[in-house]
Each structure stands twice: as C-alpha cells, then as structure tokens.
C-alpha cells in the first residue's frame, strides 16, 4: 500500500499536536508495511526520516502543462463551492480580538511577500513557502495545492491521505487529477478552533473537502458529531480513529526537590487560549486554595490570554500559589509532568487532546474536560464539564486529599495505556485504505 500523505506539520517542524499525531501515525503505518510519501510545505535538511519519504512542496517545479490541468481542475472543484480569492488577510488560526490589530499593522507594513515568492523559470515556475501559520496562510494553502499537484502527477500511490484544512485543497486537486481515492483526516475543525465565531473562508474549504473526500477520518466521536452536525456530512462517511501516544515509557525519572515534597502540585499545560479553558483552571484553583491552602498550581504555556490571566491571579490574590512557567519545551515539559500530582485539561473544545496521555506516562493522574475527544478513550480518568469549576475543584481536592484515589487511577491507567497505541490506529487506517482503494 502506497500513500501520498499531505500535512502541514511534522517533527521537527511542529507547533502543536498535529505534527506529533502525524509522526506517531506514519511511524506505525510504515511498520505495518505502508509506503508513505509525506509532503510538507517545506522541510529543512535535518528533517529526514528513515521510515518515510519527506517531500518539500516548496520549490517543486510546476510546468506549464501541469499548471493548465491544475487551472481546469480548480474550476471544477470551486465553481460550485467557494470562490478562492487570494488577499493579504489578517485572518488566520488563533487570532483574537487582542492580537487582531497587531496583525493588521504588521500586514500594512510588510511588502507583498506572497507575490515575491513566485519564481518563474522559462516553462516552469514554483513557489517558496514558509510553512507554519503566518498571516499569508490562505495564500500559502493555495500555492501548496499547485505544488502538490505537480508531485501528485509525478509519483505513484494508491491513496491520498490529507491532514486538516490547509491540505484539503491540495488533496482535492490531487484526487481530480489522478482519480485516486481521498482520505481526509480531521484533527480539528474551524468550530473547534474558533468556537461559534468561525472564519467562513476556512469553513468553506473544510466543507468542500468533506464533500469531495471518499472517507473522512475523525479523531473522536466528538469531532465526528461536529462534522455531521455543523457541516451536514452524511454520518456513514465519517469513521473514528483515535489518536495514541508513541512512547510507552517515560524518558527518565525526575526527583521531586526536597523542599516541595510536602506540597501537592496541579498542572495545566497547553496553549493559554480560549479553547483550552485556562480561566476555568484558575477559577477551580481559587476554590481549591480556599480548602487546601498549601496546594500549588502551575500554568505552563503561552498564548493570548496569558496577560489577562496573570492580572486575574493578582485580583484573586492567589499569585503566591499560582505560577506561570511560560512556554516549556523538550525536557522541561517532561519535568513539569513528572513533578505534578495531577494534570488538568479543562478544554472548552478539544477534538482529541494528546497531552493527558503524555501525563500518564509519568504516572500522573488526569482530570479531563468532558468536551474532549480523549475522554472517550480514557475510562480511568476524572472528568468534569469545563464550565463546572466547582465540580472540577471538588475533584482536584479529592486527588490531593485521598491518596488511594490517584494510586488506583495510575494503576489502571497504565493498563489502559497498553491498548492506546498507534499500531491499533494504523490497523484501522489500513483497512480504510483497502476499502477505498478497492483492495489494492
């Protein structure tokens, strides 16, 4: 089975869970014998891997003949769906009212990056892409699809598998040009990223992708429901394949420093943005500190809500017990997990949410919001509705007070983790590939 996979992130080019998930998934797939060509907007020299072929879209030569076919195909795709006009737009994922004006300013001061990146070379041309999630993201998505079309026509494979909306236009184009089946993998929808104030441009791309796909893979029942309810996709078309964790053992053992051993620590780790629910964590912390004054709360991560939360901590007079560590990377993340007594993920909307699984590697019990996909697979976790801060606080108090509780959870979680493996997800994906490609 040969797979043309399109993604926007892949370690080390990573800014969130998407890259981590793609890595675990492709590693398991290749172990099971799938040959994968993974196309990213751009890759650097150190990005090569021994289990798959990484291709950089950036710099791929597009010939005039290919470009003509691309233009034709595009017309077919978009005339009935959405019109795609490239503009310098301040709208891109994770923009908030606070940062919007900064972005506008940034755009008005910058020259037209998008146009300068076209490089014409006689009969052929190419684009140079930046990758990541810059302000010219929509334009890059557009250019990416042209470059992928050239790769798609050049390579041979059985299935096209694409991850999240940035790659949907490319996937649709490749499907039209080659007639290969399209598997569309949803790690998050626009509704998860932006709540009800969605970017209709992006939602339009998503909807077009969902209609064009042969099979849609959602990372949880929760996401499946979003797709069915908000995009009007036929329920039968959407399959659930849960994410997993690649590592099964903690990287190393960390000692808890002598001076803080008598205290208990509760950790929040993630982007400090609306959809991760950091303010609910802080409200719960306030309630807990009324009952257990020597508990400590750590908020690791950065994001647009950070300044307002730091102010809020001051307002609540809990600053001496509520700490902001900023963005953590690599070993710092492991250490943060290792010294915590409880990991809390109070997300408002979380299609899957891989961090609780990482916390569990360090024998840390977890409290999850019921509005997360991962809570569907974890039986041995505490769960609360993200808005119910009293319930959340009650459960935090219980973990800090009743040692048998966390012991029992950790013990059972270890058992449970054995079944949450990428190998299982890969099996499901392979059978999906076989079904759509007619058993090649």
């Amino acid at each position: 089975m040969r797979v043309l996979m399109l993604g926007w992130e892949f370690p080390p080019h990573i800014s969130g869970g998407l890259g981590t998930a793609c890595y675990g998934m492709t590693q398991a797939l290749s172990k099971k014998g799938a040959e994968i060509i993974f196309v990213l907007p751009r890759i650097s020299a150190d990005g090569q891997n021994n289990f798959l072929r990484l291709e950089s879209a950036s710099g791929t030569q597009v010939s005039e003949a290919v470009n003509k076919r691309v233009m034709m195909a595009r017309q077919d795709i978009w005339q009935d769906n959405v019109r795609f006009i490239t503009v310098d737009s301040p709208i891109f994922p994770y923009v908030t009212p606070e940062t919007y004006s900064d972005v506008l300013h940034w755009i008005s001061n910058s020259t037209h990056i998008t146009h300068s990146s076209i490089i014409q070379n006689g009969e052929t041309f190419t684009y140079h892409l930046h990758g990541g999630y810059g302000p010219d993201l929509l334009n890059e998505v557009w250019q990416f699809s042209s470059l992928v079309a050239a790769i798609a026509l050049r390579e041979s494979y059985d299935v096209i598998h694409v991850h999240d909306w940035m790659t949907y236009p490319a996937g649709m184009l490749a499907k039209i040009l080659t007639g290969k089946p399209l598997v569309l993998h949803i790690h998050a929808t626009e509704y998860d990223r932006s709540g009800e104030n969605i970017n209709h441009h992006i939602a339009g791309i998503e909807r077009a992708g969902f209609m064009a796909a042969d099979v849609i893979v959602a990372v949880s029942e929760l996401t499946r429901k979003t797709v069915v309810n908000n995009y009007g996709v036929a329920p039968d078309k959407v399959k659930v394949v849960y994410n997993a964790v690649a590592r099964q053992e903690a990287a190393r053992y960390y000692m808890i420093p002598q001076r803080i051993r008598h205290e208990k620590r509760v950790l929040f780790l993630g982007r400090v943005t609306f959809q991760k629910g950091p303010e609910y964590f802080m409200e719960a912390a306030r309630l807990v500190l009324d009952r257990i004054p020597n508990a400590r709360f750590i908020m690791a991560g950065s994001g647009d809500m950070l300044p307002q939360l730091i102010r809020r901590a001051g307002q609540l007079r809990i600053g001496r017990r509520f700490h902001f560590s900023g963005f953590l990377r690599g070993e710092e993340v492991d250490r943060a997990f290792a010294i915590s007594d409880l990991y809390v993920m109070p997300s408002v909307s979380e299609p899957f949410g891989i961090t609780p699984l990482e916390a569990m590697l360090y024998d840390v019990p977890v409290l999850l919001s019921r509005q997360s996909g991962v809570s569907e697979v974890l039986r041995h976790a505490l769960k609360a509705d993200f808005w119910d801060t009293r319930d959340m606080a009650d459960k935090i108090c219980a973990v800090l007070r009743y040692p048998r509780l966390s012991e029992e959870m950790v013990k059972n979680c270890k058992e449970e983790m054995r079944s949450i493996r990428w190998e299982n997800a890969a099996d499901q994906l392979l059978s999906i590939y076989h079904n759509v490609s007619g058993g090649h």
């Binding site: 009650d394 459960k395 219980a398 009743y402 048998r404 509780l405 029992e408």
Partner: protein, 430 residues
C-alpha cells in the same frame, strides 16, 4: 421428588448525590432524594407491583402449590414505606397466603459481618424483628447481602436463631458435588446450607433476553424440561434471582411475565416435581453432607468472591474508614447518626467504586456516578462530613474543660479528637 426452591432478592439502595467538598461542613443531606424516589416508583410499576400481582394469581391458580421465598433488604423496605407503600401491602398479601417465606438479612444490606460483629448482630436482630412485624413470622432462613457466605457466618447465624442459609454454588466450593442437594455448614449439623444452581439461575438472570444466546427464546416448557432432566439427580433445585429480573433486567416486552406465568404449570406437569421454600425443605429433606467454606464466597462475577466490593484500594480505604467509626457511633447512639451510618454501609456504595473490567454494572442497577472514581470521591466527602458531625456530638456529650469552646477554634479540636479516637477504635479492621 425434587423440589424447586425459588428465592428472590429484593433490594433498593439509597444512592448518594454528588456531594462535594463544598458541601462538607455546610449541609449533611447525602442522598439524591429525587432520583431515588423516581427510580423506586419506576421499579415499583415495572417490577414489584405487576410481579406480586402475578405471583398472587399463580398461588391461587395452583392451589398453593406454587411457593417461593423472598428476602427484602431494610433499605428496600424503607423506600417502599417512604415512596410506594402499596408495594408493602402487596407483599403482605403474599405473606397471607402462607406460600411465601420471608427470609432474613442485614437491615442495611451491608458487609458489616466482615468488619464489625456487633454491628452485624445488631442489624440482623433489628431486621428480623421488622420482618416479623410486617409479615407475621420470624425468619429462619438467612440470605446475606450478595449471597456472601463463609463458615464463620454460619456460627454467627446460629447465635441469632437461624436454621438455614443461602449462598452461591461456587465451583471451587462444591468441587465434584452438586448444588442440587441440601448440605449443612461445617461443624454445624443443624445449619442447613442451600447452594444456588448457577446455570439454571443465570439463564433467567442474564441470558433470558439475550438474543445471541443459543437457547433464545426461552420458553417455560424448555426451562421445565431442563429441570425435569434432573429428576433422578436432585433433591432440590435452587433458583436464586434478583427480583429485578422480572420486569426490569428483562423488560415486559421480552416476555418475562408470560414466561413466569406459565412456569409453575410447566414444572408441575411432571408429577415428581413441586415447589417448596427453604424453611419447608429443611423439615422434609435431609442434608447430604457438610460443606467447608473457609474463604468468603458470593454470587458476583466469574470469581464468586468479594472483589466486586473489596477489589481495589479505594474500596478498602472507604470501608475501613467507615467501620473505624462503628464503635464511636454506637457509643454516641444519636438517632440521626445511627441512621446515616447504616445507610452508608449499603454494599452498593462499594460496588460503585469497582474498577474490575468485568464488573460492568447491570442496566437495572446502574452506577449513579458513571465512574468508580466519582463514587469514591463522593463517598469519602460524605464520610468526612459524617465524621465532623460525630466529633461534634462527642464534644457535646462529654464537654472537657481543656477544650476551648469558641467556635473559631473548632477545626483544630475536631482533627485532634479524630486522630485520638480513630486510633483507639481500630482493632476490628484488619
């Protein structure tokens, strides 16, 4: 002349509400009254009332040849009295026929026997007296909550005046022997032991409405044939079930009522077969031998042991913490504390904390919290509040001069007295 011995468990628990750390010390209303009431009314309509009507009709139709035994827990009686007194009346009507034996158990449907003999004896005596008042006869057959049994229980029951006890026909206890004979307890020739015929009981318990079961659909004729096949190899056939089986676990649409209605006629079609209650059997049928049960057995799960209630550390922690308070509660003897203390002993609370993979809760007895961890958190929060009330009563009874009276320093005195007395009253917990 094999006798069919039908015995039913009637139990309804008082489930706790989501009692949080914020309720502790502020209010002591532990139970989810609305939900408990709704559940009971539903169960009364779906199971108790129609089933009792049916059984009464069957007793009349078969001229008192249809007979069975029930054991009703104290918490079920409380709930019937509180929410649906007509259920008590329907059981009284059954009692008046003389064809239904009312068995004894602990008033709280508790596991007190494992942790506090005083508590156990107290609960057995009160419940026994209550059954006599309600249904006219002092019970002589005992059914422990969840059919738990071991050798020691037989001795404790003898002291309480019981003549027979029911339990599970667990393979590891029976060995090569058959559950279809009457036995007696180890070293006690006058304590008869009835062991459940697991396969015939489970056919009604779990399989009846399972459409993947190879014997589905089960008719009363088919079931009677299985019983009749034992005519030469059985004195008694012990079919012990939860009352919920009729109308709740298997809803009306499954045909369970039609099955039960036709069952007596189908069984009695064979002239050698008849129905008898345990109390009648011990007078007519001799015991075939002695059964040694050194470890506890129950009717739960595949293992037939205690792990459904005491399988993990949360369950043990909760039950140890509870019974650590037993002596103190009985010493203070305040009615409200005694009442709550008994309610907290119901085995259901510990079952909800079970994390066993195969210990899935039946649809008619769901875990109100959905998660064993939430069940444990709630129970421990309730217990913490209960202990605060207990400590407050103790201070009120024995005011000590050395203790400051000001309420602002109460916290400290609660915790210090808890530590002291907690350690003293430990010995019963192993």
């Amino acid at each position: 002349m094999p006798a069919i011995c039908l015995c039913y468990e009637v139990h309804e628990p008082y489930n706790l509400r989501r009692y949080t750390v914020f309720d502790m010390g502020h209010n002591s209303l532990y139970e989810d009254d609305d939900r408990n009431c709704d559940t009971l009314l539903y169960n009364a309509r779906a199971c108790y009332l129609p089933t009792n009507d049916l059984f009464l009709k069957l007793i009349k139709r078969h001229k008192k040849e249809f007979r069975f035994a029930v054991s009703i827990s104290g918490t079920a009686l409380d709930q019937f009295e509180q929410y649906a007194p007509e259920v008590i009346d329907s059981f009284k009507a059954l009692a008046a026929t003389g064809c239904v034996e009312f068995m004894g158990e602990t008033s709280a449907h508790s596991l007190a026997f494992l942790y506090s003999k005083n508590e156990f004896n107290h609960q057995v005596k009160t419940h026994s007296a209550r059954i006599k008042t309600l249904f006219g006869k002092k019970p002589i057959t005992f059914r422990h909550a969840e059919f738990i049994y071991n050798n020691d229980l037989a001795w404790a029951l003898k002291d309480n005046g019981y003549k027979a006890v029911l339990s599970e026909g667990a393979d590891h206890v029976l060995g090569w022997r058959s559950p279809n004979y009457l036995y007696h307890s180890l070293g006690l020739s006058d304590m008869r032991l009835f062991l459940r015929n697991t396969s015939l009981s489970c056919d009604l318990d779990l399989n009846f409405s399972n459409q993947n079961w190879d014997s589905w659909p089960l008719t009363s004729e088919k079931y009677a044939t299985w019983c009749h096949a034992l005519s030469n190899s059985a004195d008694i056939i012990n079919i012990f079930n939860d009352y919920h089986v009729i109308g709740l676990r298997h809803p009306k649409e499954s045909g369970i009522f039609e099955f039960m209605e036709a069952l007596p006629a189908a069984i009695l079609a064979h002239k050698d077969f008849h129905f008898l209650t345990p109390g009648e059997i011990i007078k007519k049928i001799p015991a075939k031998g002695e059964i040694d049960v050194p470890g506890f057995i129950s009717w739960a799960d595949e293992e037939r042991d205690l792990t459904a209630w005491l399988g993990n550390d949360m369950q043990k922690d909760a039950i140890h913490a509870l019974y650590n308070l037993a002596d103190r509660v009985r010493t203070i003897a305040a009615p409200d504390l005694l009442h709550d203390f008994e309610r907290l002993q119901a085995s259901d609370h510990f079952h909800y904390m079970s994390t066993k993979w195969f210990s899935e809760h039946l649809t008619d007895r769901p875990n109100p919290f959905g998660s064993p961890y939430d069940a444990y958190i709630t129970f421990m929060n309730v217990l913490a509040d209960f202990e605060m009330r207990l400590a407050a009563s103790e201070r009120a009874v024995k005011p000590k001069k050395s203790l400051p009276k000001a309420s602002s320093t109460n916290k400290q005195t609660i915790s210090s007295s808890r530590v002291k007395t907690g350690k003293k009253t430990n010995p019963q917990v192993k």
